[in-house]
C-alpha cells in the first residue's frame, strides 16, 4: 500500500513537472499568442485589445497560478454558461452536495471553445486509434518476431529482420503516403483520410492510420521479440521443456513467448501512453481529429491552453500506462512479485 501511494505521489509530481516545464517553455520562447490570434498583419491596437481579452496582459506567474487554481476546483453543480461565464469553460466531474468538482482547462485562444470540450471530444478518437495501432503493432510484431526467432539464421529470419529495419527507418509520413497511394488512391479500397459520420465510416477511416502506426511500431516489436526469444530459446529450461516432449509450438509460445513478453509489456505501456498524447504525424496526415491533430494546431498557433491541456493528457496517460505496465509486469514475472 505504501509503495502504491509512493508511486501515485511520484506520478502526480511527474505530471506537475511536465506541465510546468511546458508552461515555462511556452512563455520563454519567442512568439506572441495574441498576435497569432489577431493575425500577422493586425495592427498593434487590435493585438493589444485581444491580448487583454485573453488575459495575456497578466504576468506569466499569475497566469501559471490561475491555471492550477482553475484546473480542479469546486463550483456550482449545474453550469449555465450564459449566466455564469466564470465557469463557462468547466466540465463538471462529480457532484459534492449543492456543489461539484470542476475541471477547467481554459478556453482555446484560436478555436474559442472550452478546451475541456475539445479534449473530451477528441480523446475517444485518439484512444480508438491508439488501441487499433497497438493491436496491429503487436499482431504483426509478435508474429514476425516469433517466426524470426524460430527460424533464426534462415532466409525467413533475414527477410523479416531486414524488413523490420526498413519499417523502423521509414518516417511515419512516408509510410502514410505510401499506404494512401496504394490502398486509397490506386486500389480504392479505403478512404484517403477523414473521420466520417457513421460508425461504419469511422471503422473504414481508422484502417489506414492504424495500419501506419502498426507498420511503424511492428518493426520495433519484431526485433524486440526476436532478440529476446533468441536468447530465451538457448536457455536450459527450454531444452528441458523440449526434452520432456512438449510440442514445438507449446515450447515456443507458452515457455518462450510468455517470458519474452516482459520487455514487450514495458514497451507497450510507454507506446500506448505516447500514442494517447496523440500520434501527431499520423493524425495530421489522415485528418483524424484526435489529440495529436489538436496539439499540432495548438503548437503552431501558440495556443497556450490547448498546449497545456494536451501536455496534461499526454503526461497523465504515459504515467498511468506505466503504472499499468508495472502491474502487468509483476503479474508476468514471479521475480517481480517476490520483490514487490
Amino acid at each position: 500500500m505504501r509503495r502504491a501511494l509512493r508511486r501515485l505521489g511520484w506520478s502526480v509530481f511527474v505530471v506537475w513537472a511536465v506541465v510546468s516545464l511546458a508552461f515555462a517553455v511556452n512563455n520563454l520562447v519567442p512568439g506572441d499568442p495574441a498576435r497569432m490570434v489577431a493575425g500577422v498583419q493586425a495592427r498593434p491596437a487590435d493585438v493589444e485589445r485581444i491580448r487583454v481579452q485573453l488575459g495575456l496582459d497578466r504576468p506569466p506567474l499569475v497566469q501559471y497560478g490561475l491555471f492550477w487554481k482553475r484546473l480542479v476546483h469546486v463550483g456550482p453543480r449545474v453550469v449555465d454558461a450564459a449566466k455564469d461565464p466564470a465557469h463557462a469553460s468547466c466540465a463538471v466531474v462529480v457532484g459534492l452536495g449543492d456543489s461539484a468538482l470542476h475541471v477547467d482547462l481554459g478556453r482555446s485562444y484560436q478555436r474559442r471553445q472550452p478546451v475541456v470540450d475539445l479534449i473530451l471530444t477528441r480523446l475517444p478518437r485518439t484512444f480508438a486509434l491508439a488501441v487499433a495501432g497497438i493491436f496491429l503493432q503487436l499482431l504483426f510484431g509478435l508474429t514476425t518476431g516469433v517466426l524470426a526467432a524460430w527460424r533464426r539464421g534462415s532466409w525467413i529470419d533475414r527477410a523479416l529482420v531486414g524488413t523490420s529495419l526498413l519499417g523502423v527507418s521509414a518516417p511515419t509520413f512516408l509510410i502514410a503516403l505510401a499506404l494512401q497511394y496504394v490502398l486509397a488512391y490506386w486500389l480504392r479500397w479505403l478512404p484517403l483520410d477523414g473521420f466520417g459520420k457513421t460508425l461504419g465510416d469511422h471503422a473504414r477511416c481508422i484502417v489506414l492510420p492504424a495500419l501506419t502506426l502498426g507498420v511503424y511500431g511492428a518493426a520495433y516489436y519484431t526485433r524486440l521479440v526476436r532478440d529476446e526469444m533468441a536468447g530465451l530459446l538457448e536457455q536450459d529450461w527450454i531444452r528441458t521443456a523440449r526434452a520432456k516432449g512438449l510440442s514445438p509450438a507449446r515450447v515456443l509460445v507458452v515457455h518462450g513467448l510468455r517470458n519474452a513478453l516482459v520487455p514487450v509489456v514495458t514497451s507497450v505501456g510507454l507506446d500506448f501512453g505516447a500514442l494517447m498524447g496523440g500520434a501527431i504525424v499520423t493524425e495530421k496526415v489522415f485528418r483524424w481529429p484526435g489529440i495529436g491533430e489538436l496539439a499540432v494546431g495548438g503548437m503552431l498557433d501558440r495556443d497556450g491552453p490547448v498546449i497545456l491541456a494536451c501536455v496534461v493528457v499526454s503526461a497523465a496517460f504515459i504515467v498511468a500506462s506505466n503504472l499499468l505496465a508495472d502491474a502487468v509486469h509483476t503479474r508476468l514475472d514471479p521475480r517481480m512479485r517476490a520483490r514487490a
Binding site: 520562447v29 519567442p30 512568439g31 506572441d32 498576435r35 497569432m36 490570434v37 489577431a38 493575425g39 500577422v40 498583419q41 493586425a42 495592427r43 498593434p44 491596437a45 487590435d46 485589445r49 485581444i50 481579452q53 484560436q110 474559442r112 471553445q113 532466409w155 533475414r158 531486414g162 524488413t163 529495419l165 526498413l166 521509414a170 512516408l174 503516403l177 505510401a178 494512401q180 497511394y181 496504394v182 486509397a184 488512391y185 480504392r188 478512404p191 484517403l192 483520410d193 477523414g194 473521420f195 466520417g196 459520420k197 457513421t198 465510416d201 469511422h202 473504414r204 477511416c205 495530421k284 496526415v285 485528418r287 481529429p289 491533430e293 489538436l294 494546431g297 503552431l300 498557433d301 501558440r302
Partner: protein, 569 residues
C-alpha cells in the same frame, strides 16, 4: 564459407529496390495522371443550376463570424455567407451591392448609403439600415475580438465608442433604408474598407455584442447548414434561396474540407472527388501543365501578396542607404520566382498586380551587379569579386521562418549577396518566433517580409510597412523601422485626397522614394494558382477576392464517383 556480407547482398538489393519503389509510388513517377471528368456541354453554354462544389484546403477556417478574428481563408469562407454594402467588380472597382447607391459630401467626410429594398437575410427578415448600424457597432465594440477594428478609427465617434465611453458611433439612420457615416477626416480608402467582411450586416440573432456561440447568419449567397461547420474538418453551406441577385448562386452547395495536405488533395482532385485543386505542389502543377488533357484548366490569380527582403534601417550595415541599394540591385528576382513559378512572379515595386494604383510602367528596382558593387564602394565597403577581398567585415544575421518559401529563397539571397561582399548567417526559427523577432525593435538586421493586401487600396501597402507611425518597440509592422517625414506626408495626403489622379501621382512619388531608399529589396509577388475540372464553369480570377463562387456552375457529363473520404469531407 561465404561472409555475412555476401549472404546479405541479394537481400539488400531487394530491400533497396523495394524502398525505391515505395518512394517512387507517392511521387507518381511510374503513373500518369488520370483523365479529368468531362463537361456535358461546350464552353459558352448557359449556366445550369445545381450541384455541390467540393474544395479542400491545407489550412483551417478560424471563425465564421465576420466580427471575430480573421485571416485569408477565414475571409473566403465569410464571403460565402455575408454580403456587404459595397463590392468589387472584376477590375477591382468599388460597386454597389446591398447599398444601391451612396452620396459623398462634406469634402469626403460624410457617406450616405441607400439600401436596396427587399434584401432578405438568411432568417427571412428584410435587411434594414438598423441592421447595418447594429452590425457595424457590434464589430467595433471593445469586447469584440476583431482583427481589424482599428481600420475604422477614422469613423466619427470611434475613439469614444471603442473606449467604452459612448454607446454608439456617430452616424444616423433615416427611415428603413438610409444609413449615414461620418468620418473625422476624408478617407479615400473608406469604401474599400467597407467592403471587408467585418462590416457586413449580420442577422438580428447576432445581437449587439459578439459571442462565440452565435450561428452565423447574414445575407450572402449561401447559408450555413445546421451542423455544417466542423471546426478543423469541414464546412458545408447551401444556397440562400432568398439571395437578392436573381438566379444566383447557381450552386446548390459548397463543401470545403480543411487540413488536407497537398498530395492527398491532388489524389482526390485527380480522382474526381474535388472540383477545384487549391493547394497543388509545384511538382504537381508541372505534371498537370505537361498533360494535354489538363493543360488549360489552370487559373492564375492576381498577385495579392508582396514579399521583400526587409533591411533594418537602424542596424548596421543597413543604416547605410548605399548598402541597402546594393542589396536591391544585386537581387535577381527571376531566380526567386523560379522557386514556385506557378505562384510567384518577380516584383520590382511595392504594389502588386491587381491592386488599384498598380503601375506596370513604373521603373522599379532592377538586378544590376555592377551597380550593386558600385553602391558597395560608395558605402565605403568596396568588394573585389575576383579576390574576394573587401565588403562588410562581419556576418549579417538573417532571420527566416523554417516552414516558408523564404527558407529556400534565403539560400538564393545568401549566394547573391556573397558576390558583393555581404555574408549572411541564416537563422531558421519557428513561424511565431520569426514574427516575434522580426517585429521587435533592434532584434533582426534582415529578414523576409510579406504583406497581403487587407483591403483593395494602395494604402494597405504604403502605410503599415513604411510609415513612421507604424513603428513600435514590439509587434511592429514596419520591420525595416524606416522613417522618412517626406514619405509620411505624401502617404497621408494620398489617403485623404479625393481625386484618383492626385492619389495616383502621390503614390507614384512614394513608390519612387521606396525604390531609392530601399528599406526593402522587393523580391516577388505571390498569387494563387487553381486547377479546375473541365465541368467547373464560371470560375474566374478576381482582383480582390481570392475566391468568388457566386457565378460558378457545374456542367458534369458523368456520374459522381464514390468519394475517397470517409463521408465527412
Amino acid at each position: 564459407m561465404r561472409s555475412i556480407r555476401t549472404k546479405l547482398e541479394p537481400l539488400t538489393g531487394v530491400l533497396v529496390t523495394a524502398a525505391v519503389a515505395l518512394l517512387a509510388l507517392p511521387l507518381g513517377c511510374s503513373t500518369g495522371l488520370r483523365a479529368p471528368g468531362p463537361a456535358a456541354s461546350v464552353d459558352g453554354a448557359p449556366p445550369r443550376r445545381g450541384g455541390t462544389l467540393r474544395l479542400a484546403s491545407v489550412f483551417d477556417v478560424r471563425n465564421l463570424d465576420p466580427a471575430g478574428p480573421s485571416d485569408g481563408l477565414t475571409m473566403q469562407a465569410q464571403l460565402l455567407l455575408f454580403d456587404g454594402l459595397v463590392d468589387f467588380d472584376r477590375d477591382g472597382h468599388v460597386v454597389p451591392n446591398l447599398a444601391e447607391k451612396w452620396e459623398v459630401s462634406d469634402e469626403g467626410r460624410t457617406y450616405r448609403f441607400t439600401l436596396r429594398a427587399g434584401v432578405r437575410m438568411h432568417d427571412g427578415a428584410e435587411l434594414t439600415a438598423d441592421d447595418v448600424r447594429r452590425s457595424i457597432e457590434r464589430a467595433l465594440h471593445p469586447t469584440t475580438p476583431s482583427s481589424v477594428a482599428s481600420f475604422y478609427e477614422g469613423l466619427a465617434g470611434y475613439s469614444a465608442y471603442a473606449g467604452g465611453t459612448a454607446p454608439h458611433l456617430d452616424g444616423t439612420v433615416e427611415g428603413r433604408y438610409v444609413v449615414t457615416f461620418r468620418l473625422e477626416q476624408p478617407d479615400a480608402a473608406f469604401l474599400a474598407l467597407l467592403g471587408l467582411p467585418a462590416m457586413r450586416p449580420v442577422c438580428a440573432s447576432a445581437g449587439d455584442r459578439y459571442v462565440d456561440t452565435w450561428q452565423p447568419c447574414g445575407s450572402g449567397p449561401f447559408e450555413l447548414e445546421p451542423g455544417g461547420w466542423q471546426h478543423g474538418t469541414s464546412l458545408r453551406v447551401v444556397r440562400h434561396e432568398g439571395y437578392f441577385r436573381p438566379g444566383l448562386p447557381h450552386l446548390d452547395a459548397v463543401e470545403w474540407s480543411f487540413g488536407v495536405w497537398p498530395v492527398p488533395q491532388r489524389f482526390r482532385f485527380e480522382d474526381g472527388d474535388l472540383d477545384l485543386l487549391l493547394n497543388a505542389t509545384q511538382a504537381d502543377v508541372g505534371r498537370f501543365m505537361a498533360d494535354a488533357r489538363w493543360k488549360g484548366l489552370g487559373v492564375n490569380f492576381f498577385d495579392n501578396t508582396i514579399w521583400g527582403e526587409a533591411m533594418n534601417t537602424r542596424i548596421p550595415p543597413f543604416d547605410n542607404v548605399e548598402i541597402r541599394r546594393a542589396v536591391a540591385a544585386e537581387i535577381d528576382r527571376n531566380e526567386y520566382a523560379m522557386i514556385k513559378p506557378s505562384q510567384m512572379s518577380p516584383l520590382t515595386q511595392l504594389l502588386p498586380r491587381g491592386v488599384p494604383g498598380y503601375d506596370p510602367s513604373f521603373q522599379g528596382q532592377v538586378h544590376d551587379e555592377a551597380a550593386a558593387l558600385e553602391h558597395m564602394r560608395r558605402a565605403g565597403y568596396p568588394y573585389d569579386p575576383a579576390t574576394g577581398k573587401g565588403g562588410w567585415p562581419a556576418p549579417i544575421v538573417y532571420t527566416v521562418s523554417d516552414v516558408s518559401v523564404g527558407a529556400y529563397a534565403s539560400q538564393i539571397l545568401q549566394q547573391a549577396l556573397a558576390r558583393i561582399g555581404l555574408h549572411l548567417e541564416l537563422r531558421l526559427v519557428s513561424y511565431p518566433a520569426y514574427l516575434a523577432i522580426t517585429q521587435r525593435a533592434g532584434a533582426s538586421a534582415m529578414h523576409p517580409q510579406g504583406n497581403q493586401g487587407d483591403y483593395a487600396d494602395p494604402s494597405t501597402f504604403f502605410e503599415p510597412l513604411f510609415t513612421t507611425g507604424a513603428i513600435r518597440s514590439e509587434g511592429c509592422s514596419n520591420t525595416a523601422f524606416y522613417s522618412n517625414p517626406i514619405y509620411d506626408d505624401i502617404v497621408t495626403r494620398a489617403r485623404r485626397a479625393t481625386s484618383d489622379d492626385v492619389r495616383r501621382a502621390l503614390y507614384h512619388t512614394a513608390n519612387e522614394i521606396l525604390r531609392d531608399d530601399a528599406p526593402w529589396a522587393f523580391t516577388y509577388g505571390q498569387h494563387d494558382f487553381v486547377m479546375r475540372q473541365p465541368y467547373v464553369k464560371g470560375f474566374h480570377a478576381h482582383p480582390v477576392w481570392p475566391f468568388d463562387v457566386r457565378e460558378v456552375w457545374l456542367d458534369r457529363g458523368d456520374a459522381l464517383p464514390a468519394p475517397l473520404t470517409g463521408g465527412l469531407r
